[in-house]
Amino acid sequence: MEGKAVISRKQNNVMPGETRARRSLYWQYMVEPFLYLSPAIVLIGLVMMIPLVIGISYSFQSIELLNPFNTGWVGFENYIDLWADRKFWIALENTFWWTFWSIAFQFSLGLGLALLLNTDFFGKKLFQALVFLPWAVPTFLSALTWAWLFNPVIGPLPHWLTALGILSEPYNIMGDPDLAMWGPIVANIWFGVPFFAITLLAALQSIPGELYEAAEIDGASAWQSFTKITLPFLAPMIAITVMLRTIWIANFADLIFVMTGGGPANSTQILSSYVFTTAFRKLDFGYASAIAVALLAILLVYAVFVLWLRKKLVKI
């Protein structure tokens, strides 16, 4: 609506004469923007949207590069296999815990860091640059470094954990199916805290300072200002960031692939790493695509649920 109003005003002011005006309207609305947009549209269309459709169609086919004669449409066979695949259900459960613990720690530590950065202290600029640095470290490098830190022979963490009495002896937690997931989770927390801190800091800085002054005059405690002013103001940002990050982390396979490769005994296999290992190691593209479609469906359901929840809770 607004766009039309703007355009019709332009038409009256800038271009007198009806045919020129109409051509200009057509030009401005249908042609000129696409001159700027076409490279982006072509790229996204060719490299992402078309392969996405092809990928969905793969999930109904048998495509094994190691077994080229076994190729063709198979209907829902991949999905039936998936339903019976124990590894799939383990990976699904692991995806949940991986995402849940990563988000929980990234968010709470990120919020703490944002609150600290919202105060004044000596050397703040340098401090901020240094604590945000993990975000810029290439993922494969964080994975290798953390794998090293958790190594029982040459890494310090198992020894320290033993000294603190958390582990009975310095062994490799990434070799223990019950604990292995914590290796990649810790690396993910390290990598993801800056992101939450940055977005929450931006939201914190947009809260008007007068609110705090007024609260202080009225005798509110620091805790009261936090729960009555800060949190309500942050809530929308928190909701959107947590939702987007959840999806992103559920899709994030790099750390797990490098650190544990999904092992031991699939105890760290999440759906996205399962997609990658099936495609990369077994070259079974049909089955990999079926897992990917299942992951996509789960994430869609999650997104719809969160949006519905937001609509229910936040009444604007």
Partner: protein
């Protein structure tokens, strides 16, 4: 909030700051430590905080005796190429989103948001098939094309936020004075948006520099390997020279850190305007 009178609170605050700082820096310190520790001490002094001897042998042998220089060059080529092309494409698209109302605008924005949500690994098989069909496996150009497409949506939103910050009146004034829109864009808007372009370059470079899984899938020849792929191949070989590997890691960190210093000021804008991708 700023003038906390209680000393207990102040101490607590500085303790928390210190804890965050050590958590953030400790792994990087360790990476550096291993890289400068002589090989024979890695196992015996594995858990010491400080090595008893320093050496730059690891760096020397990584640079001169392995293929890392070629991996490094490949990665640099791919990342710089991706950053340059993405920024150019995204600047155009971001400008269109910021300045025009047009048919299908909401649909396009929705599609771009969706590309940030679905599992990218979903298209790894089709992309492999398509690129293999074109005979472009092991080609760095194919990596640049793929990475560019992956990064364009995020970079577009980022560029749009920069263009939104530049008043429309500026180019309208220039167009009144007889410039075409493109001339106005080139002469008036472009100089103003240089910091935005720089930040976008930095974000995309960092993303491309660390991409691993698609590179693993599409590249198998040693001479076309990017840094992450090369380093992982190094790990999976039978005997691993840890010191050299960590030295290579430190070298891989250098470009990211340089770009990080460069884009630091724009982190807030970048991550909140995109808010979709890390």
């Amino acid at each position: 909030m700023t003038h906390s009178p209680k000393p207990v609170l102040a101490v607590g605050k500085y303790a928390a700051l210190l804890a965050y700082l050590s958590f953030a820096l400790f792994p990087l310190y360790w990476l550096l430590k291993i890289a400068v520790t002589p090989d024979q001490l890695i196992y015996t002094e594995g858990t010491n905080l400080w090595p008893s001897e320093f050496t730059f042998d690891n760096f020397r042998s990584v640079v001169f005796q392995t293929d890392f220089l070629s991996y490094f060059g490949n990665s640099l080529y791919v990342s710089l190429g991706t950053a340059a092309v993405t920024t150019l494409v995204a600047a155009g698209a971001g400008y269109a989103f910021s300045r025009f109302n047009f048919a299908g605008k909401r649909l396009l924005i929705a599609v771009m948001l969706i590309t940030q949500m679905f599992p990218l690994l979903m298209i790894i098989a089709p992309i492999y098939k398509i690129i293999a069909g074109l005979g472009m496996l092991n080609s760095l150009t194919s990596l640049i094309v793929v990475y560019t497409a992956f990064n364009v949506p995020f970079a577009t939103f980022l560029m749009q936020s920069f263009f939104d910050g530049i008043p429309k009146d500026l180019e309208e004034a220039a167009m009144m004075d007889g410039c075409s829109r493109f001339q106005a864009l080139y002469k008036v808007i472009f100089p103003l948006t240089l910091p935005g372009l720089g930040a976008t370059l930095g974000f995309v470079f960092t993303a491309a520099w660390s991409e691993l899984l698609f590179a693993l899938m599409l590249i198998s020849k040693n001479e076309a390997m990017t840094f992450p792929v090369g380093l992982l191949t190094f790990v999976s070989k039978f005997s691993v020279d840890w010191g050299q590997m960590m030295a290579a890691g430190v070298l891989a960190l250098v470009p990211s850190c340089l770009f990080f210093i460069f884009i630091q000021r724009y982190l807030v804008q970048g991550l909140t305007s995109g808010a979709v991708k890390g």
